[in-house]
């Protein structure tokens, strides 16, 4: 019997993204922007190329997300004084307020989607996924 982990993780995360996008649409954010914001807030003052690597997307893909986040006043590109090719990304005060709203949405979606599991099971599953993710992060993929 073949494992269905690939399909299951895809299908569940797809539902989470759909529901998040629907709920966050009135505020004007997509799940991809949200993901960039959260990872940036955990890696303050990094360059675009650093954030792209963290997000596991190509730099050119991130450019457009940062464009949108800058337009909506969430992120600022600051010239790097030591390397004039690069920008240092920072999050605005406004972003902190908006992110509180977005976390409410994200948490609510997650609780809804994971309702079938106990809190203990949710923690267990998340920690297993976390180990998988961390083992991949060290790869050169």
């Amino acid at each position: 019997m073949h494992s269905k982990f690939g399909f299951l993780s895809y299908e569940i995360s797809h539902i989470i993204r759909q529901r998040f996008n629907k709920a966050a649409e009135p505020i004007g954010f997509t799940h991809a922007q949200w993901r960039a914001l959260v990872h940036l807030s955990e890696n303050k003052n990094c360059r675009q190329i650093d954030l792209a690597e963290i997000l596991e997307i190509k730099p050119i893909t991130l450019v457009k997300q940062i464009d949108l986040l800058e337009e909506s006043g969430m992120v600022v590109r600051n010239k790097d004084m030591d390397d004039r090719r690069a920008y240092r990304l920072s999050i605005t005060d406004k972003a902190h307020t908006v992110m509180e709203e977005l976390w409410k949405i994200a948490d609510a979606v997650e609780i809804e989607v994971l309702a079938a599991l106990s809190e203990e099971e949710r923690r267990l599953m998340t920690s297993l996924l976390d180990r998988v993710k961390n083992s991949l992060a060290t790869d050169s993929s």
Copy 2:
């Protein structure tokens, strides 16, 4: 502390899809087509609208995937005798052969991605995800 399940499941499934797509590209299939094929083989002779519901995509999205799968000789649209609006989808003999190849790729990718976990942990995680998925399937989402 907020849960990261949404990001984790997205990021891991994204890596699985990327690796699958890369490995299956020479044979000419994408992960979306692969997903449709597998779900069709588990729901033989269903209509497009049924398969779309199983895949949790809109019927129009499925049309194009079936177009591609029909072009490559994997799937046949058979006129439904009882409802002349509908097609019944079937999988060709050729598809069975190709699917064996694709399962090899899918299994290999999964083993690679989940290498950090023991077999026991893999089974546990998959069964937790399966419960989540099934609880959502009964929703009217």
